[in-house]
Symmetry: C2
Subunit: 527 residues, 2 copies
């Protein structure tokens, strides 16, 4: 249902005075629905419901939670083409992308449902008593992960489905047993509204405690700030800009009770082109990189914003080929006039920096909000001295950094801040000779890619979508894949607890048949 | 070696101008050795060495790191009675405690050595490629934990061995592969000096990169602040007061690159006495609780600072018995005149709060710095309205909160902040009837203890020594047991990496024979 209201537990409310509309960036005009920004009272109500729902939802069985996640997936499927149409009208993204992202969203919900059913994510650990130990008897200790409490999720501008209302943060937090309050992204408030209706319906179908999920509209910063400041909120998930993520981190850190914020704040994802491979595979990599830079109008946190290579004839030829490939791409709409505007300003700022030169840029007229793919180049010596060139320009943009030699390449890599990814393009033989470079890259990233581009984030257990600051605010956690659930869990230990009072995961009989660490050994054994 | 100098890598330096001495609290006079507070340059030097050592130490094999940890243990043992004598002269704690703590320290070092040798703490995870998958091929992804970088450890006043220079934080960080810089606690600077010499010797014996360990003296806050602010420091471990831990957390959170701080800041560790058990086991629990309150002069973060029960004849009788037991305890020296002073002031402040009444207090004359065990009582109605009574008085002190009925007990528990532990003393039958109370307690603690006191923290895999704020600054991690290593690790993912360039833990042949998550299933298989 698309009505522009806030979804607070099982109620739909519009008590605030501020309203807003979304924009169709392709038509460059407002969409029709009026959205009501949540009032202070509505924020309070959503948190209160989540707080009261928390202990009951935490103790709902794994079947219930898995059914909830699968129920959300099936309610989203049931929205059919209405959702796809709305998604496209609010994002300017093509239908294929909308359907792909819906499939990913559903896939993520099912992934976490499976994880919950399997149950081992609670990491049960049992050390049995040794009453005869000298000098002191050993007590019985049993530990498992429990949900951290109500989680606030910020919808991401560039993933209206997969990192918003029912996206990875929400799915992993609901799987963990935490109620979720989504602060919807204003650019796709309708998509959020419709998906959140589906979530509320799935919750209602299972008679879950009211408040296990709420969705609040907001245009400005107030709703998000009020949520992160609220004493009953216990953790935050965010995907977006560095400015936004850091602001939330600062608010959370200055609370009376600080809470964890997992903010994934994007990255320039350097791609290092080694010399030998450019002798043979210039065409291939020019095409692949052009595709990665321009995919989704460059609006991915894994967009490759910096390319680095050693200046020679092959790099020049690669640069020419890249230019040709970039000019072949049909420029496409960006998500929103504000994003298009910021892209143009960021590009312009980069172009004004000393020593930069345009390799490729579309110059023909385009519709409003279309992002013209652009590649600049700069000498490494200029790059190293100018930290403005190290910053992300969100959109179809990349900067080719030309290094004199391997030594200058290494020195340039050493200046790069924390990243989600880095890629190394090289022959297997030459890579063997660059172990210092590889180690330097590894120390700066969450994911090190060999002969591949950073776009395309596989959702699986071995994925790490995170990285040292400023890529994220906590390098110890991932936003994608099974392990993302760990952000919303904390351990609790039971000492000498009567069996009947233990959670099932820790009971002697192992009624959930979990793989447990039992006196230091993994097993399915009963105690 | 005891020379009062800073230990910076393999050098011993004294370039600072500020000096200080430790105090023998039993004799109430200064010990002889003069300690030199680290200068800014010495801080810089220690961090620089740690930063340069980090990549090499990170890639030292598991045999090397295990040998280092065992080497430290054996060098500490070799210090023999000199260490024990020095420990006692700086802490006022008895020889038995010194020897017990040394044994625990050595046990922890050996525990982490075993963990490193086993190797599975790196949590290897492999998802193999599916080149034929439609619509997109699946890449090969392999993930493992790597060290986070140089760690700063703050020595704890109340654990000169087990939570200081070679204590749990240091041992777990060195095991993880992180260089460690210890900011020694000024109250036991000599013990730190001697133990750190042993660590440096163990490092030298193995030719480890210089800077893998340093130990800096400090009297004031400057050295600690400079360390936590330093851009090349990547994480912090702290055990101590709420004021100290929160100050470090704030500094770390306001850095350009925020870093994780694991601060364990103590707790009042409430003990709930249910009515039925007090009918039968008053004497037993009066004795046990008196022992726990006064153990080590009450200077443990797990000291039970609040007792709660339902006011009736049995609780009154228990209170009388507890008073008798407390008065039987011979009061002992506190760690330092400052701690004794703070204890007396805290006790006095509690006594001045409305409605408090003394149940037990030693009144006979004592030597300087001796802490007189004290128990107060107060009605729950007064307790609930006065947050000053919820705060820790560090030392042999506890407050008995008398509730009218179970409903008031539950309402009082609901006001308690995050705790390391809570204990419930009751018959198995009556506990079954208090599931709401148990759930409330579980939501507030890291460890829930049944029919036991909180002192005595077992070092094992299932221990959780942590808890919601203000017990710690990050409830997701523990300071004790195997899992404490996770504080110093972050994941890195390798995408399509040639086998020869992968770390051994992720190579196809599984040369370390680790248990790995391979396409979602735990196994020792080769790929």
């Amino acid at each position: 249902m698309l009505d522009g209201k806030n979804i607070i537990g099982y109620n739909r409310t519009q008590r605030g005075k501020v309203t807003f509309k979304t924009i169709n960036p392709i038509l460059n005009r407002e969409n029709e629905t009026v959205f009501y920004e949540a009032s202070k009272e509505e924020v309070e109500e959503a948190v209160k419901l989540a707080h009261h729902a928390a202990p009951f939802y935490a103790e709902s069985g794994r079947e219930v939670r898995a059914a909830f996640l699968r129920g959300i997936a099936s309610e989203i499927s049931a929205l059919g083409d209405d959702l796809i149409g709305l998604y496209c009208s609010e994002s300017g993204l093509p239908e294929g992308r909308a359907k792909g992202e819906r499939a990913r969203t559903i896939g993520q919900l099912e992934l976490y449902a499976g994880l919950v059913e399997d149950g081992s994510y609670v990491q049960p650990s049992i050390d049995t008593a040794k009453p005869d130990r000298k000098p002191n008897p050993k007590v019985d200790l049993r530990k498992m992960m429990v949900p951290i409490g109500p989680v606030v999720v910020f919808g991401a501008s560039n993933f209206p489905l997969a990192y918003s209302s029912a996206g990875g943060d929400t799915a992993s937090a609901l799987a963990a047993g935490c109620p979720v309050i989504v602060k919807g992204h204003p650019m796709h408030a309708g998509t959020g509204n419709m998906v959140s209706s589906a979530i509320a319906k799935a919750a209602r179908n299972l008679n879950l405690p009211e408040g296990v999920f709420s969705h609040l509209n907001s245009k400005g910063h107030e709703v998000g700030e009020a949520l992160v400041k609220h004493p009953q909120v216990k953790a935050v998930g965010f995907t977006g800009s560095h400015g936004g993520g850091r602001a939330l981190f600062n608010i959370a850190a200055s609370r009376k009770e600080p809470i964890p914020v997992f903010a994934e704040m994007g990255s320039v994802n350097p791609v290092i082109l080694l010399p030998e491979i450019l002798k043979k595979e210039k065409e291939k990599w020019a095409g692949t990189i052009a595709g990665s830079v321009t995919l989704g109008s460059g609006q991915f946190c894994t967009n490759p914003g910096i390319l680095m290579g050693i200046k020679n004839q092959n790099l020049d030829l690669f640069s020419d080929l890249l230019s040709q490939e970039i000019l072949k791409v049909v420029p496409s709409s960006m998500l929103h006039p504000d994003i298009a505007d910021k892209f143009n300003k960021g590009k312009e700022q980069a172009r004004l920096q000393k020593g930069t030169e345009v390799i490729a840029e579309h110059t023909q007229p385009v519709e409003a909000n279309v992002g013209r793919p652009t590649i600049l180049k700069v000498k490494a010596s200029e790059f190293r001295e100018n930290s403005k060139l190290h910053q992300e320009v969100f959109g179809p943009f990349s900067l080719l950094v030309e290094c004199r030699d391997i030594e200058e390449l290494e020195r340039s890599v050493a200046l790069i801040e924390g990243q989600l990814t880095a890629s190394v393009i090289g022959t297997p033989e030459e890579m063997e000779g660059y172990d210092f470079l590889l180690r330097q890259l590894k120390d700066r990233v969450g994911r090190l890619i060999f002969n591949g581009v950073p776009t395309g984030v596989e959702v699986c257990a071995s994925m790490h979508h995170g990285g040292p600051y400023p890529a994220t605010t906590d390098s110890r956690f991932t936003a994608v894949g099974e392990d993302a659930i760990n952000r919303w869990l904390r351990p609790v230990c039971f000492q000498n607890c009567p069996d009947s009072l233990l959670p099932p995961a820790l009971q002697n009989a192992n009624p959930l048949n979990l793989l447990r660490r039992l006196d230091g050994r993994l097993s399915h054994d009963k105690v």
